[in-house]
């Protein structure tokens, strides 16, 4: 049974990863559910309080409290509330927004998610690619000297959180030089759709947020890759590849980077949570239409359903990224795909 596999990948490996994925999502969902219930504040009273603050006075307060409890299921036993909550999560039903009553939270999330995912592909993935290339060239013996000086010089910002680099870039390129727009994800007068003005506007608005993530994160990958390349460089198989008289560039790609990249991919899975939250903070300072702005607005408005839904989606996104990386990994590392031939 342990020999069974899909496309060479052992079923036990796939099962393991899926189990971890579902467990992660379940634990995260439970934590998000438990935390508010630890609060001494009764959510129904809190809601009523906000209504009172808005209107100045609420008639029939006691009756409304009972209605609210019934409406949100707060009069049910805890376990039942939990089961209903999990059931709702499965169909992405997070209730309705208080601030934008009665818009369903899921609708707001669906509007924000593409922006966040789009930015993520352009920033997080580009940083990964650039960083690994930079790290590989830093360690490679044949790299021209200029690059060996230029690459470390470009890495001074490494380990600074993207929100700080975002502020700097925003100040320099948007506020001072006015090369790029200050905030937003597309121009106020553009009509969203597949027209050139809109696409150009999206690119112009996305450049600074993406750049602020790339400049501070590529160095992390570069440093890791440099260390791995230094290790791989002294491996017997690279020494043999040189003795085989293979071309240096071919050895670099096929023998060195090809092997050194494997732990980097694993590291990506471990790091993706921090990268996603880093990006969300950048979105917030650029008022980018993604999850960051949504969460920030929800914090300001005490819109708890939105915060809960957005947190769940971000964690789900992270866990899904990890799952995807884990499922791709066997295809780049034959040791898992063809596990234990002997």
């Amino acid at each position: 049974m342990s020999n069974r596999s899909i496309a060479g990948v052992p079923l036990s490996y796939i099962g393991n990863r899926l189990f971890t994925f579902f467990l992660t999502v379940l634990i995260a969902a439970s934590v998000i559910w438990i935390i508010p219930r630890l609060s001494p504040v009764d959510p129904a009273e809190a809601m009523l309080g906000r209504m009172a603050a808005g209107a100045g006075f609420v008639e029939n307060a006691d009756q409304i409290l009972v209605d609210l409890r019934a409406r949100f299921g707060l009069d049910e036993p805890l376990w039942k509330q939990y089961v209903v909550y999990l059931k709702n999560l499965m169909v992405f039903d997070f209730g309705v927004s208080v601030a934008n009553f009665p818009t369903p939270v899921s609708q707001m999330l669906a509007a924000a998610l593409p922006w966040t995912l789009g930015l993520m592909i352009f920033s997080v993935l580009i940083a990964f690619v650039i960083g690994n290339a930079a790290g590989a060239f830093m360690a490679w013996q044949e790299t021209p000297r200029i690059w060996k000086i230029a690459i470390p010089a470009a890495m001074v910002f490494t380990s600074i959180p993207p929100i700080l680099s975002g502020l700097l870039l925003m100040w320099l390129f948007a506020a001072q030089l006015e090369w790029f727009p200050l905030t937003g994800s597309y121009g106020l007068f553009e009509t969203p759709g597949l027209n050139w003005e809109f696409i150009l506007s999206v690119i112009r608005h996305g450049t600074l947020p993406a750049l602020s993530i790339v400049v501070v994160t590529f160095g992390f990958w570069a440093l890791g890759m440099r260390g791995l390349m230094t290790t791989v460089q002294s491996e017997d198989y690279v020494q043999l590849a040189k003795a085989k008289g293979l071309r240096p560039r071919y050895i670099l790609y096929r023998y060195m980077i090809r092997n050194a990249i494997l732990p980097q991919v694993t590291a990506f899975a471990l790091k993706v949570g921090l990268l996603v939250t880093g990006q969300i903070l950048v979105e917030r300072i650029f008022s980018y239409n993604g999850m960051g702005k949504l969460i920030y607005d929800a914090i300001l408005n005490q819109d708890f359903a939105v915060i809960q839904g957005a947190s769940y989606i971000v964690i789900l996104m992270t866990a899904a990224s990890v799952l995807i990386v884990d499922l791709i990994y066997p295809f780049i590392d034959p040791r898992i795909r063809h596990g234990g031939g002997q």
Binding site: T20, I35, E142, L167, L168, W171, G227, L270, G273, S311
Partner: protein, 315 residues
């Protein structure tokens, strides 16, 4: 070039000299702990700590309170949009509710570092205990700890902390560190577990066992010293992650509200449109200070990497 290709023919005099120079340099830094990256990084962190500690005596920390200083003053030598020059009474300027920037930095920087240290200390302690247990006891214990750390490493701490803060409310610096530590134990756990597993196979632990040493003795007397550079590296890496998360939370307007932190100063600056009002000192100074802190932590970490992994040293 023998050096460049690694596979040269007969070498020239210049290469020979270069090799000798390299040999000399190696000698100068004979102790791996004395490498320049580690020293510079540690210097930066100590410098920031001293700035915070001595600053309290040399400068008036009461100036962090709202209205304790004039509003919107630029640093000395600059003018603000209204044409007011900076004043030596507030050398780094003031912000729009009349707080002195220098005092905010003096009080805020140690607070920010403190959050990182607390989270890291608690996280490391949990991590070391779980890692050793997983590696040594093995079996079911190992499975549970491994899966749990796999799960927890995926959940971004920021999201859970946002939920926590918006439903529970106001927290202090210590509480912030404690909450963060709940997400900081996974990487030391994994690291130590892997090290314990590989060391169990290695000769000297088996020797120690054969000579009748107790498991506890082996764990702490034989293995821990070998892990020291890794543990230090892990400590710094976790502290960095904790500070990044804390700053992130603060810039969303959450986190400790009553005491100044660098992230909180930045939050207020963004919130008051300091960028548009060209009050660069308001967000720029804490940003620069945080950036310096992160560069310092990174250098310490790179230096520790060189201690733990001698191969990196020659590069």
């Amino acid at each position: 070039m023998a050096d460049a290709t690694g596979m040269g023919g007969v070498v020239s005099d210049a290469d020979e000299k270069a090799a000798r120079r390299r040999a000399k340099r190696l000698k100068r830094f004979d102790s791996p702990w004395m490498n320049p990256k580690l020293l510079t990084g540690a210097g930066i962190i100590v410098g920031i700590l001293l700035f915070g500690l001595l600053g309290r005596f040399l400068w008036d920390p009461e100036l962090v309170f709202i209205g304790s200083a004039p509003l919107n003053l630029p640093p000395v030598g600059f003018e603000n949009l209204r044409g007011e020059p900076g004043s030596p009474a507030h050398p780094l300027g003031t912000q729009s509710s009349g707080r002195d920037m220098l005092a905010l930095m003096i009080v805020g920087a140690p607070n920010t570092l403190f959050i990182g240290v607390i989270a890291s200390l608690i996280g490391m302690t949990i991590g070391i205990l779980l890692g050793f247990s997983a590696g040594f006891i093995g079996g079911r214990t190992d499975d549970v700890i491994r899966v749990l750390s796999d799960v927890m490493i995926t959940i971004p701490p920021l999201m859970v902390l946002i939920v926590f803060q918006t439903s529970i409310g106001e927290i202090g610096i210590l509480m912030m560190g404690v909450l963060l530590s709940g997400f900081m134990w996974q990487s030391p756990t994994r690291l130590i577990r892997a090290q314990v597993l590989s060391m169990r196979q290695s000769g000297y632990v088996r020797m120690a066992k054969l000579s009748g040493a107790s498991t506890f003795d082996i764990m702490f007397k034989e293995m821990l010293p070998n892990l020291v550079p890794y543990l230090f590296g892990s400590f710094i890496a976790i502290a960095t992650t904790a500070i990044v998360t804390a700053v992130g939370l603060e810039t969303l307007g959450l986190g400790p509200q009553r005491v100044p932190t660098l992230g909180r100063v930045i939050y207020e600056a963004i919130d008051s449109a300091a960028l548009l009002r060209n009050m660069w000192w308001w967000w720029g100074i804490p940003t620069a200070l945080l950036a310096t802190m992160f560069v310092g932590l990174l250098l310490v970490n790179l230096g520790l990497d060189e201690v733990a992994n001698p191969k990196l040293r020659k590069v």
